[in-house]
Amino acid sequence: MAALSLLPPALDLLLAVALLLTAWRALYTRALFPAVVFFVAFGMLLALAWMRLEAPDVALAEAAIGAGLTGALLMAAVARLRGRDEDKP
Amino acid sequence: MPAVSSAVLRAGAFRIALYALLWGILAGFEPGSWFLGAPAVLLAAWLSLQLASPVPFRPWPVLVFVAFFIGRSVSGAVDVARRALAPRLRLAPALVVYQTSLPAGLPRVLFLNSISLTPGTLSADIRDDTVWVHVLDENGDHEQALSGLEGRLARVFPQ
C-alpha cells in the first residue's frame, strides 16, 4: 500500500507538468492556431487542477468558461485573423 | 389560433416527460427543485418543439436498435483497438459511396452518427441522398453493413 499513497502526488505531478507544458506552448508557440489549441487544452487541464484542489465550484466555472467557451471564442478570433497561420506548424 | 395537431401534442407530452425525467435525474428528484424545475422543463420542451418537428417512432424497435448499436459500438472499438495496437498498421482506407433512403432529419442524422460509431466506418459527407463513408479497410463488405444498419433504423421510424 505504500506505493499507493504515492499515487496522488504522482497524479498531481503529471497534472502540473501538463499544465506548465500547455501554458508554455500556448504562450511561446509562434503560430496562432496551435497556440490557441494549447490554450484550450490548458483550460481543460485547469478544470482538473481545480478538482484536485477540491474546489468544485471553481472547477465548474472553469469547465464552462475555460473548456467550452474560451475555445469557441478563440476560434472565432482566429477566424478573424484568417490567412495567417492555420495549418502551419 | 392555429390548430395544434395531435402529433405535436403527443410529441410535446413525450418530450416534457423526457425532460422531466432528466431534471429529476439531475436534481435527485428533490421536491423543492420543481419550483424552478417545472418551468425549466416546459421551456426545454417548447424549445425542442421549435427546433425539431415531431418525428413519430416505434418504441420497441428503438430498444432493439439500442442493443444492436451498443454491440456494434463495442465491436467497433475492438476493431480500432486491434488496428491501433497491432505492430504494423493494417490500414487500407478508402471512401465508399452509399445511397440512403432514410428520410431527412433525425432518422438520417442518427444513421450518419451510427455509421461513425460502428466498426470500420465513418460518415464523412452527405449530399442529397448520397453518403460518403470513410472506411478503414476497403476490403470489407461495407455495403451490407450499412444497409443492415439502415434497415434497423428504418424500422424505428416508420414512413
Binding site: - | 439531475l26 472499438a77 498498421l89 451510427s114 465513418l122 470513410h134
Partner: protein, 96 residues
C-alpha cells in the same frame, strides 16, 4: 459485482489507451477520427458503467448514463463535421 466493475474499468482504460495510440499512429485525419470516436467513447462507456456499478445508486447511474449519451452524440457529430470539412477543404484521405 465488484469484479464486474473492476473488469469494466480495466476495459475502459484499455480502450482509452487504444484511442490515444490510434490518434498518434494513424496516418491522417480521417483514420484518426475513427480511433477517437469509437475507442474513446466505448472506453468512457465501460468506465462509467464500472463506476455506476461501484456506486450502486440508480440515480448516479442514470446521471452517468446521461453523460455518456451526451458524449456519444457530441463525439459522433463532431467527427462527422470534421471529416466533412476535411473533405470539402480538399484534404485527400490517406491511401496505402
Amino acid at each position: 459485482m465488484n469484479w464486474l466493475a473492476l473488469a469494466s474499468l480495466a476495459l475502459g482504460a484499455f480502450f482509452f489507451l487504444a484511442g490515444t495510440v490510434g490518434l498518434l499512429r494513424f496516418p491522417d485525419v480521417h483514420s484518426r477520427l475513427h480511433a477517437l470516436t469509437k475507442a474513446d467513447n466505448v472506453g468512457l462507456g465501460f468506465l462509467l458503467f464500472g463506476l455506476a456499478l461501484e456506486v450502486g445508486s440508480p440515480l448516479v447511474g442514470a446521471k452517468l448514463f446521461v453523460i455518456w449519451c451526451l458524449v456519444l452524440l457530441a463525439s459522433a457529430s463532431v467527427s462527422h463535421v470534421i471529416a466533412r470539412a476535411a473533405l470539402r477543404r480538399g484534404v485527400e484521405p490517406w491511401q496505402r
